[in-house]
Symmetry: C2
Subunit: 441 residues, 2 copies
């Protein structure tokens, strides 16, 4: 392929034919129209290339999957990867993370989010649910990287009326900014940080604003035991009941972590149609002492999706790894190897994730946007293929993804990402300068 | 590089200079002599290539590490990857694994072990501790693949004197076979399978034979609660005390799993100088309900190493993933995020692993064999590098390994393994034929 063709290919606005890929055990061709939609998925009967589309990608027997959906992260924290680990949560936050975050600039958030998007593209994630700050820069990064994101400003009022007013304003500004972008890949959500950092007034404002905007809500819920005990002491009810009282639990709400929910709270989440984002790696690394009660949430009919959390508590954004650790943690915690089998783990990372974010993706079907990843069938970890789903969840990791397509646009082809070197260089420079600023402050 | 040079390069028996790699934060050059030993590790001061060695590898800023050591696996089970998952242990073994294993041929063990070696080379493992059967074929595979292995025949007498005699003979035959190979990369160990599959007589024979042969012992110990209860019921003592009574616990012994050891048993392992191989992924996947008591073993001075277990209970051989899951599981299980910090996880996979197998590798130092891996510093998961050890354990996986060298011989260069395609094809064919034979039986 010539450089001219390569550039055209990555720019999008062309039709595509992906030939010779395996979907649910069948070898098929997938055709994608100029608008980035899957036009058809058909048996692979093509004998030769007949110019059916502007470009052809020979899948070479790769497994085709819907792009993975990461339903809880803080993308720009990729700059903090490995900056502090193996510490008690409170020390880690107060001595390491917050002092560094105090020096974050708009440019840092831009390059940190670009770095995160690059890692997601490489490991097969095409949509993510983000909560952080300086989110106009996150939006710019997502716009340029080419993937999907639902962006929320982390609303933290600490029961202070003045701060609450500022947070409401910041939330409204982000909503307005994303509206002006008019990018179909970028959505806005309201981001009340958690029941322990937001007052009931703040939570209620967020719930009402989300209803008025017809947008999603992204919140941390019941990550630690302390948070549950504090909530009961302060409000006389557990966190899920408390935030529900403030109107936060809706079918457009993604509640992250949910480790310490009791059975009644799981039933409440199910009843309200809430999506619970499981973050097993982060929960284990920070020692939350309890795994999300997946069996209870499943029984209650809640939608359970998957998230990596930010890079400072994971320390990567690999949703393949997250699928595996989710299956491992649930089996181990509930002492039952049949819990969270591979097909459920894969659904959490695809269809359930798309449902959580209200996206029409998460499955491969004609008429849906072409968010497609191709996973090598020639990597050592994916040989032999007795069961493709088992291999995807238990044997492969994100580096087995060869090609990533979002909304019909090719973002990675045969493991090549056009502007990766620039992103890695700029992000590295931003990360080191950030640490220097914090040290000399 | 020409094809001729490439071939020469992979054949070994040449000197090598690895320039511009990072070791413990310093950028260095590593020179390797014709015998495969590290000749020197020095500051990177070379301005241009002056023919200091037969070949030059430009490390390009990669992180150089000792090759990882996998201290518990069943390599040929790579053919069973994904064949059966998410099942109760006993059903999984009796309905799926054993019926398939009954049809394994020598050719299957050869290609299964080649497939495993290929995956290990790709993910930076240069030595492994294997227990299986038809082990002459495993030896042949290891010989050809170019990595190190300690091979044991899984001795299972089921308290049957006749079977015991056959197992002793099979063990002796493997010892003799490995002696005739005279390959410095291949060692023999005695492999009493476990206290629940071996009689006290069998265990005693194994201990005496190991002493006579001056070789290692490889055994499964206290993986499940049932095994502990059965041992106490049958012998009136817990498994570690029981096998110790039979002479099995020595400084050359690798005890795999060790989930259900109590504190006194940990002290016994420490006192005897035993190496305990932690297999966190397998233990979580099969829901052993208890994590290896790492803090107790550490306090007792036992050497704790790391293993992936076989591909049917993991389902890959990625020691990077194993390091991460070990750190995650220990933090979560003991409810303390400071337990098993990154440097200890890395030591488990390198120096401790080498110690477990009695190898002179596991660290980078002049005068030791050149078992070296280069980890990309340009992969998204390894950017930025605030802390290389943290990135290696928490952010990277085996696919970030670019180059793998064992005993001075290059096995993978810039992610290329010369005979990979053949290995993947042959192993795939062997795996599918195996399933067909089992189905038509």
């Amino acid at each position: 392929m010539s450089d001219y063709e390569m550039n055209a290919l990555f720019r999008g606005n062309h039709s595509l034919l992906i030939s010779n890929v395996v979907v649910d055990g069948r070898t098929v061709d997938i055709s994608i129209d100029e608008k980035g939609m899957i036009a058809s998925i058909g048996e692979n009967e093509r004998k030769e290339w007949k110019g059916e589309a502007d470009f052809l990608i020979d899948g070479n027997g790769a497994l085709a999957l819907p792009g993975l959906v990461n339903t809880h992260t803080h993308a720009a924290m990729s700059l903090l990867r490995g900056y502090a680990d193996d510490m008690i949560l409170q020390d880690w936050l107060s001595q390491k993370i917050w002092p560094l975050e105090a020096h974050l600039t708009p440019k840092d958030v831009y390059w940190g989010t670009r770095l995160a998007c690059n890692e997601m593209i490489r490991s097969g994630t095409t949509a993510f649910n983000d909560m952080y700050f300086i989110m106009d820069q996150a939006a710019k990064a997502v716009d340029q990287a080419g993937i999907r994101a639902t962006l929320s400003y982390g609303f933290i009022d600490l029961a202070n009326a003045e701060k609450r007013e500022a947070e409401c304003k910041a939330t409204e500004q982000l909503a307005a900014h994303i509206r002006t972008l008019a990018n179909p890949r970028i959505k806005f959500a309201v981001g009340p940080h958690s029941p322990y950092t937001c007052s009931p007034e703040g939570l209620k404002w967020c719930a009402e604003y989300a209803q008025a905007q017809k947008c999603g809500i992204h919140i941390h819920l019941s990550e630690t035991e302390k948070e549950v005990n504090d909530c009961v002491a302060q409000y006389g009810r557990r966190p899920a009941a408390h935030v529900d009282e403030c109107g936060i639990l809706t079918p457009q709400t993604v509640a992250a972590h949910c480790c310490w929910l009791d059975e009644a709270e799981c039933q409440l989440l199910g009843k309200r149609g809430v999506s619970a984002a499981h973050n097993p790696v982060s929960n284990m690394k920070l020692a939350t002492n309890r795994a999300m009660p997946y069996p209870w949430l499943k029984a209650a009919g809640a939608n359970v999706s998957l998230g990596t959390d930010g890079c400072s508590s994971n320390n990567n954004l690999d949703m393949f790894e997250e699928m595996k650790v989710a299956a491992l943690l649930q089996k181990f915690y509930w002492n039952n190897p049949t819990i969270l089998p591979a097909p459920e783990a894969l659904a959490m990372a695809t269809a359930n994730g798309a449902k959580a974010l209200g996206l029409p993706t998460g499955r491969l079907a004609a008429g849906t946007p072409a968010d497609i990843i191709l996973v090598s069938n020639r990597d050592a970890c994916n040989v032999p293929i007795h069961n493709a789903t088992s291999n995807l969840v238990y044997a492969c990791n994100g580096y087995s993804v060869e090609t990533t397509i979002c909304n019909g646009r090719i973002l990675m082809l045969d493991r090549g990402i056009p502007d990766e070197a620039e992103v890695l260089n700029e992000a590295t420079e931003a990360a080191f300068k950030l640490v220097d600023r914090a040290k000399s402050a």
